[in-house]
């Protein structure tokens, strides 16, 4: 068997032909330059190889099927040349693969992960371990068959992954992930035993998504609604025009929809969430599987949405902004990577929120978050700004504040937003700003104060007529774009000042990127101490019971 990794001297500049040392899979010493699995270029380039094979082989194969000689008569004399030419192309491709593989090496040392690539044009990328935003282990179907996996290491850089190692053996990938996460967390390797493999952090399952609910959520999703609408329209159209032609033109649309459904199903299948000291672990996928690790405090913003039809079953969807994941448009996989929960009930949402925001910053999180998800300001209330029960400057929600302490748009904007004015609102806990909006498409956005980048107040001419303003919070690229819609001008100004102060305070509290050495990590590490997974969300269990009681009143 080929040794998994040919070893070169630590920090060695030249790719010296040092003999490979087998059996060093575990416990690689620090600073060693390693190579990815030799089969990886073929797994990445199988499409190219298949294309070459198809190009050269198709004609002969067809002739074989038709029982004719393998080659056209005019070519028979040149068979050796043709074979030699084809072989040469194949050889060049394979040689190219091997060269790229040979000159791609990676190293984890001194707080950095480095990757060297290139033969003629050398490139070295390095990323600071304590700036890690997320680590993903991705297994496309072919790699999964061979037991290989790709490791993606995201630092704060929108769009492109900082470091991609494709492919490693799955055990090595897990080991490397554990090493990187441990270093990033601030664990110093034992000087006595630098070769000892760092154990993977223990994890506790939080929730898993049954396939039936996934299918149900897809059937009731927005795209199904528009599909039904389109189908009805085409039936009417064909009846009116009395032609069947229209169905023919619908075929590509139907194929596209089927592909979209399949994609969602494939990505959402077997979705499980777990918590470990290294952060939130998400796993999902039917054919291609993916395992994401989001270290504590790396989530910049969370969005909980509920399409109208999901209200029947009380389902929600959760999406997150993570620096490095980028927006859904930046690459094809963005949409699934930013999905924190494809579909889940209120209890699931609360549980995930408690992972994202270990310290909700309010004594009664269930009431506040439920009000954010389903609540609405009472219609008869005087303008919310005058209500003494609104959130104070310091963001402390008084116990008896109605509607979870949410401060909604003033009554005067009911002409601008006839449906949403009682719903659009915000509230602040000690640790996060909650923004809710939408009466039909319900939405709740949670932005931790520590993660606020910058903010802006916006006001157009129409909004000025109604003395309202929008507050936009800027966060990293992603599906969540927090915006307080049509808050009263005075409330918006107060929020602008108060939020700037809160973000300042929160920044002061956060001192280190290494989460084990942080000042207040107690809440994150808490689940580790409870060995029983059921006790993990002990703190929130009463909340769930309460949610079910409170839900109807708010809905």
């Amino acid at each position: 068997m080929t040794p998994d990794s040919a070893v070169t001297p630590p920090g060695g500049a030249g790719p010296g032909p040092t003999p490979g040392i087998a059996g060093q899979m575990t416990g690689k010493p620090d600073g060693e330059w390693l190579r990815v699995h030799p089969a990886s270029p073929f797994i990445r380039g199988w499409v190219a190889l298949a294309a070459i094979g198809f190009f050269f082989g198709r004609d002969s194969f067809e002739r074989l099927l038709q029982g004719r000689p393998l080659m056209d008569d005019m070519y028979t004399g040149r068979v050796p040349f043709l074979l030699a030419g084809g072989g040469l192309i194949l050889l060049l491709a394979v040689l190219g693969f091997i060269t790229t593989w040979y000159f791609t090496r990676y190293q984890v040392a001194e707080g950095y992960v480095r990757v060297n690539t290139g033969f003629l044009f050398k490139q070295q990328r390095q990323a600071r371990l304590d700036r890690v935003q997320a680590i993903d282990i991705v297994q496309p179907l072919l790699a999964r068959i061979f037991g290989l996996a790709e490791l993606k290491f995201e630092v704060a850089d929108a769009g492109e992954s900082a470091v991609r190692l494709a492919y490693l053996r799955i055990d090595d990938a897990r080991q490397l992930r554990a090493t990187i996460l441990a270093r990033a967390a601030g664990l110093v390797p034992d000087p006595g035993q630098p070769e000892a493999a760092l154990p993977e952090a223990p994890e506790y399952a939080v929730l898993s998504l049954p396939p039936s609910r996934l299918v149900g959520s897809l059937l009731l999703s927005e795209q199904s609604f528009f599909l039904a609408l389109g189908a009805a329209a085409s039936v009417v159209l064909s009846a009116v025009t009395e032609s069947r032609q229209i169905y023919f033109y619908l075929i590509p649309a139907v194929l596209g929809m089927a592909a979209a459904y399949w994609g969602s199903f494939n990505k959402g299948y077997n979705f499980t969430a777990a918590i470990s000291p290294d952060g939130i672990r998400l796993r999902y996928g039917l054919l291609d599987t993916q395992a994401q690790t989001l270290p504590p405090g790396r989530i910049q913003a969370v969005k909980v949405t509920q399409p109208p039809l999901w209200r029947i079953f009380g389902w929600y969807r959760m999406q997150v902004n993570v620096a490095g994941y980028g927006g859904p448009g930046s690459n094809g996989e963005g949409a699934s990577r930013t999905m924190l929960l494809p579909v889940g009930g209120l209890a699931d949402v609360m549980r995930m929120l408690s992972l994202v925001l270990p310290d909700p910053g309010t004594p009664d999180p269930a009431r506040v978050f439920t009000a954010g998800l389903t609540g609405m300001a009472p219609a008869g209330l005087p303008p919310a700004g005058l209500s003494p029960a609104g959130p104070s400057q310091h963001g402390v929600i008084s116990e008896e504040a109605p509607d979870g302490g949410f401060l909604t748009s003033p009554r005067r904007v009911r002409l601008l937003a006839p449906l949403g004015w009682r719903r659009n609102g915000f509230t602040a806990t000690d640790t996060a700003l909650l923004i809710r909006s939408g009466r039909l498409w319900r939405e709740l956005v949670v932005v931790p104060h520590q993660r606020t980048q910058s903010m802006a107040l916006h006001q157009g001419p129409l909004a000025r007529r109604f003395r309202v303003a929008d507050l936009v919070l800027h966060t990293t690229a992603g599906p969540v774009s927090p915006r307080v819609i049509q808050a009263g001008l005075d409330e918006a100004r107060d929020l602008f000042d108060a939020q700037a102060a809160r973000a300042r305070e929160a920044r002061k509290r956060q001192t280190s990127e290494q989460w084990l050495t942080q000042v207040a990590p107690a809440t994150v590490v808490e689940p580790v101490e409870t060995k029983d997974p059921d006790k993990l969300d002990h703190r929130h269990t009463p909340d769930h019971a309460q949610n079910h009681q409170e839900g109807p009143h708010h809905g």
């Binding site: 620096a323 606020t452 980048q453 910058s454 903010m455 107040l457 916006h458 990293t476 001008l489 100004r493």
Partner: protein, 170 residues
Amino acid sequence: MPTEAIDPPGISWLRVSPKYVTVRLVEWAFGNLIAVAVLSLPLVFRLAGWWEWVPLWLAITVPAVTLLLAVWRLLLIPRQVRAIGYAERDDDLLIRSGIFFQRTLVVPYGRMQYVDIGVGPVERGLGLCTLKLHTASAGTNAEIPGLPADEGARLREQLSARGAARLAGL
């Protein structure tokens, strides 16, 4: 219509150089005059008798409306420039702009990743520069145009120093 500023009261704004109006005028001329000229071509062709199919009212209305809008924008420029302001507070920088569509932006020093200074050809002639702040968010569109060059340099040094002192992670 009374225009009430949306920014919090009690802030003394520093204004950008009045010379920035010239920069905006040049930009305006490039954009709008060319548009008006191109849109006037059908009218010219029509009057010259080359194009018969263009309705005369359309050939007149389109460039006229464009010209009207352009003049409207031209008249707004001095007020827009006067509306741009910035204020350095202890922990953050405030930037405001706009009259009809107002915007007030706050960028904490600890969130700034880097500070750019850009100088265009017209700005260089007038000794102005544009300061741009970058945070981890692409949504932060923090630009202070029309700063005198020495004020821009001072602000950049000041912001960099304060940013380094208060630097926070993401």
